[in-house]
Amino acid sequence: MYEKTLAEQSRLLASGDCSSSELTAHYLDRIARLDSDLNSLVSVSTEGAAAAAKLADARRSGGENSPLLGVPIVHKDIFCVDGGKTTCGSRMLEEFHAPYSATVVSKLSDAGMVTLGKANMDEFAMGSSNENSYFGGVKNPWQRDCVPGGSSGGSAALVAARLAPVATGTDTGGSIRQPAAFCGLTGIKPTYGRVSRYGMIAFASSLDQAGPLAATAEDCAMVLQAMSGFDERDSTSSANEVPDFTANLNDSIAGLKIGVPEEYFSDGLDAGVATAVRAALSEYEKLGAKLMTVKLPNQNLCIPAYYVVAPAEASSNLSRFDGVRFGYRCESPVDLEDLYTRSRGEGFGAEVKRRIMIGTYALSAGYYDAYYLKAQQVRRLISDDFDKAFSEVDVVAGPTTPTPAFQTGAKTDDPVAMYLNDLYTVSANLCGLPAISMPCGEVNGLPVGLQLTGQHFDEARLLHAAHSYQLATDWHQRMPSGIE
């Protein structure tokens, strides 16, 4: 059953060839057998999942037939779920129970999805390797001495190992797309505002977006459909109408104009990755797309701008974790200063503290103009570059990451080398654009990701383009070995 895509499982559920209870039990069994090695989940909701599956089956007997009814899912542990723990990968929230569910979680539960558990992640979504989780690292199912990417590393590893047909992730600078690329999956970060952020623990509020990671673009389209839409509890969510993401998936893409930025094929790019991406672009040409060269002259400023804006917002967003009302509190504080210093010092991991310090510095009196304000101006320039490109092309294509998955521990001592993983992904967040990553090849047995970036609210076109590629290729069908 696990070899089937979400869309195929949906059809089996609809035809009655399989019940949600059977499907759920199948995945819970796989999790029990396979996850002790991978460490991709931080909590499993055995009883809750069984009850939700039973309810879904009852709804179906009652005549309901929505496409996600009874389909299992795992949520990244950044989404609050009423009734269970939400840790955000941090000691700070090791025992935190939210009295509410994130809008994304409520929407997917309302659609009938069955929550199997919560996925491991980099602490507070800060990281590109999932090595920053308080609950331990996650192994890449393709090569277990490699990282799965981050911060949605648990989500990517568990879907790659087929412990669920889909998982939610969040993407602040590439945290859906980079692990999707490292684990041979399809993952989409929607337009900023497409999906509600309510109940999703904030890292950098102006960059954070939720999205799905699954085997195929079609699966992503089905789940994103149910996640999207205006939420009155999130002032930054968009009132734009949500189109039917699956309606035109099988149409031809002939005439699609694909922009290829020269800047994406620069020195930092692994040769094997470059070859795989070039091959994928040729495949698109065969499908009738037109390749055009575009320029993104400020591409080199993306990482510096991102690593000012994101930590600045994070430094403020994470101030609420002070040991006063909820979360970790140090033992026997002697006074208020001690309570703050030790609760935060002991509750947060090293990378989180590093970014809080960078962000605090960037917002300080006397440095604000030189860092935060300047970074926001650079953000505008990068946005202008994309606007100019989109006046000529429909989508911009390139590699998702400069390299395939790297060895565990290889970059933990060099934060800047780690940050360069986000070279091609952060611009979509800085500009609020939707972007998708899909598998397009392998280098030394590790998957390679192709990224398409679209215009605001143009997710349908990205999903359509990815699906067309997947109809013509089989990279998305490959699975790691040892997951039987």
Binding site: C80, Y100, Y198, D234, S235, L318, Y368
Partner: protein, 479 residues
């Protein structure tokens, strides 16, 4: 050397919305601790603020009432600092782009003159919770009911030159915010509080002196006392050859002095930046037009109309304008009635307000509503009853639903204006008091009031006083 005082005020007016500025929790005062704080107010992870539209229209109302500009694209910003009663570790406020821009008000001063005070800005922000240090020994208790309560911080230019001017301005703003219904003005509950920026400089010098900010003054008396103390302190410092330190000070009302809280060097770096959870606050022209059309007539316009239309003296007009409910009561009384507005004003300031004070009632809750009081005064004006009888009837009306006419009829209180009836009563009194008549005629004219009183008593107070006086004098002289 003579010194000049320079004062600017920052006034925090709590906006009178039922729910909080960024959440649906209630703002009601006095609830059990921590029962009116929802997930948003508690700053739980993942929750987001949503602006209460009510606060936006209230801020625009304030702008329109003070000739201030409305910033049509204002912005919320985060003011970052750690404090246990600040749940998110930052306060959502406005910094670079406040919703209300420059404006000005004309304030009446105690000496009868007027002064223009310029408003620099007014911005929206959320209140913090409350730390209570004396409830549990050695521990601090936190009540987050107040967290997220909407505030409008009104910042003036340093235009005031004395404590009296500062108090007059604060009183003006206090009356205004209540009048336009955006703040209940309750200073005991903290709904209206002031910070005073005070400095002194040698008279004639154009540069300002170094200022101290005195925080959290929650009565006009404390505002005045704190400024007076601070001015004296600063002059002492300067005259002893030292410098005034820029700092935040606290007023201790028990000791009637200000104390240093923190100096400029110790001040927090608040690391303000635009709140990414809240898009720019856009106020469309149509929205402003709607607020404008729903605005009550402003106090200064209404006061002028009272003087012009009703021929009130400025003092009476001020009395009728003491608050909006009084002005509404006054106008409701005059609606369609035929008595002089002056009579209505006298009754509101005298009999009615005395009674309301005694019973501790607000005018809008008065047992005697404007239509009932108007009928009573109409009977005074048309001579049916005397003013004195009217006061008796008013007392009866207070404890019943009866109209003035019903009471007059039932108790037979109609004034006696029949000359022959009055003459008959006078004749009886004269006949019964021959010795007093003789004394009167012998030149002791003060006895007239004795006769008036006796006849009034005989008439049970109903004799028309004018007629009585005239006839009595005639009769006593012709005896």
């Amino acid at each position: 050397m003579s010194w000049e005082t320079v004062i600017g005020l920052e006034i925090h007016a709590q906006l009178a919305t039922r729910s909080k500025i960024f959440s649906g929790a209630s703002t009601e005062f006095g609830a059990e601790p921590n029962t009116q704080a929802c997930a948003v107010d508690l700053g739980l992870p993942g929750v987001l603020p949503v602006v209460n539209a009510g606060v936006v229209s209230m801020a625009v109302r304030f702008a329109l009432a003070t000739d201030s500009s409305v910033t049509q694209r204002s912005q919320f910003a985060r003011k970052n600092y750690f404090y246990p009663d600040l749940p998110k570790g930052y306060q959502i406020s406005q910094m670079a782009l406040p919703i209300v821009g420059e404006g000005s008000v004309t304030v009446g001063l105690p000496d009868g003159t007027e002064k223009n005070i310029n408003i620099t800005r007014a911005h929206l922000e959320e209140d913090a919770g409350k730390s209570i240090h004396d409830l549990f020994d050695g521990n601090t208790a936190i009540d987050l009911n107040r967290a997220g309560t909407p505030l409008l911080e009104i910042v003036s230019e340093p235009d005031m030159r004395s404590a009296a001017e500062a108090v007059a301005y604060a009183r003006y703003i206090h009356a205004l915010v209540r009048y336009i219904d955006i703040c209940d003005g309750n200073m005991q509950e903290g709904s209206f509080r002031c910070d005073a920026n005070v400095s002194v400089r040698p008279s004639g010098q154009s540069e300002f002196g170094t200022r101290a900010e005195v925080k959290n003054l929650n009565s006009f008396r404390f505002l005045e006392r704190a400024i007076l103390f601070e001015v004296e302190r600063q002059i002492d410092v300067l005259e002893s050859g030292q410098e005034v330190v820029q700092e935040t000070r606290l007023y201790d009302s028990d000791k009637d002095e200000t104390r240093s809280m923190r100096s400029k060097e110790e001040a927090n770096d608040y690391r303000y930046f635009p709140d990414p959870d809240l898009p720019p606050l856009v106020v469309e022209d149509a929205f402003i037009a709607d607020v404008r059309s729903a605005m009550p007539e402003l106090p200064k316009v209404r006061r002028a109309r009272f003087v012009e239309q009703f021929q009130l003296t400025p003092a009476d007009a001020d009395a009728m304008m003491s608050d909006r409910d009084t002005a509404d009561y006054f106008e409701a009384m005059l609606d369609g009635q035929k008595f002089t507005p002056k009579l209505a004003a006298n009754w509101i300031s005298g009999e009615l307000s005395g009674r309301l004070n005694k019973e501790n009632l607000a005018i809008q809750d008065s047992t005697v509503q404007p239509d009932r009081l108007a009928m009573l005064l109409a009977r005074v004006e048309d001579g049916t009853i005397s003013g004195k009888i009217a006061k008796q009837i008013f007392d009866d009306m207070w404890s019943s639903d009866a109209s003035a006419d019903d009471i007059i009829d039932k108790k037979g209180l109609k004034q006696i204006t029949d000359t022959s009836a009055i003459e008959a009563m006078i004749d009886e009194v004269i006949a019964a008091n021959p010795s007093q008549v003789a004394e009167y005629q012998g030149g002791k004219e003060k006895l007239l009031s004795f006769f008036v009183g006796a006849v009034m008593k005989a008439s049970k107070g109903k004799a028309n006083p004018g007629q009585l006086n005239q006839i009595l004098k005639d009769k006593l002289q012709s005896q």
